[in-house]
Amino acid sequence: MTDEYEFEIKRKDESGKVYYSTYKVPKDKISTVLEGLLYIKENIDQSLSFRYSCRMEICGSCGMEIDGKPRMACSTIVEDLKKDRIRIEPLKHYKVIRDLVVDIDPFFEKYREVKPYIIRDDDGKYDKELPQTPEQFHEYANFAMCIKCGLCMAACPIEGSDPQYLGPAPLAAAWRYIADNRDKGAKYRVEVVDGEEGTSRCHFAGECTEVCPKGVDPSFAIQKLRRTALKIELASIFGGR
C-alpha cells in the first residue's frame, strides 16, 4: 500500500481521440472521489472537467462511472473501493461533452414524456384539501426519492442496446405519480409507458436498482407499471373504469 491514490481518468482530445490521464492524489487529503477530483483540479490539472454542485448526494450532478460502476462521486468513499488505482469514466449511454461531463438533456426529455406531475380530473378546482393517509404516502414515497442523477440510465443494459427505450428513471417517475392517490392521470401515462419503448423493453436485469444512490427501486416500479397497464388495457377492452 502506498500513501497515494492513482486516479485514472478517461478523457478526449480535440480530435475525439480517447486517452487516460493519471494523477497521483495523497490519501490523507481526500475522502471521497469528488474530493480527489477537486484536489486534481486545484493542484495538478486545471483543464480537467467534471460536474458537481451540492457535494451531499442531493443535486444528482456528479454521476460518473467509478471503478466500472455508475456512482455519485460525492458519496463514493475512495477507501471503500479497496484499491489504490481508481478508474473514472463518464457515464455510459450519454454523449460526452468534455472529460467527465455528459449531456443529460435526452434523459430529461424522456423524463418529461411520462408527465411527472400530478394530473387531476377536476382541473385543479377542488375546494378542500386532498387527504392522504400514511399508507397512501408510502405507496409512492420510495419513488419520490429520485434525484434525477441518471445513474440508472447508465447502468441499464437495455439503454445500451436500444437508446429509444424510456429507461428506469422515467418509468419509476411514471409509477411514482400513478401510485399517488391524488393523481388521476394513469390512463395518460399508460399510453406512453405501455408503448413499444416502454415497460415491455425492460428485461429485469435490476442494475438500475443496484446502482441507485437513494435506494429507489425502478425495476420494482416497472413491474408494477406492467400490471397496471395490463389492467387498464383489459378494462378498455372489456369495459369498466
Binding site: 455510459k92 435526452p106 443496484e210 400490471r227
Partner: protein, 137 residues
Amino acid sequence: MVEANKEMKEGISAWAKFYRKGTGYLAFAFHRLSGLVILFYLYLHYTVLSNLLRGQATYNAIVKSITYGPYDSFLALDFLLALVIFYHGANGVRLALNEFGIGMYHHKALFFTFEIIAMILLGLFDYYALQFVGVGF
C-alpha cells in the same frame, strides 16, 4: 418519442460485461445468451428436418450418422442444449411471475430457487438420456 442519442449505443456486447454487476444482471445476461443458443439450435433443427425434402433415405442416413456415428459426438451438444433450455425456462418462469407482481420482493431468492430446481431436473434428464443411449453407471 424522444430522438435518443444513437452514438451512445453500446450494442449487444454490453450484455457480456459482468464486472461489478449484480445477480439480476447475470440472470439477464445468461437469459439472453441462452436464448441465442436456443434460437441457433432451432434453425439447426429446421435445417436437419429440411432434409426430408430430399427423401426418406437421405434423412434417415443423416439421423443415423448423428445418432450412431460417425457424427455421434454431436450428441454431447444435446446436453449443452438441455442445460440452456432448463436455465432459460426456469428464469423465464421467474420473470413471468415477477411481471405479474408475484415474488417481486424476493426476486433474487426466486431466481436461485428456480435455478436449483431446474438443475436438479437437468440432472434427472441427463441421467435418463444417458440410460437411453446405453451409457450405464
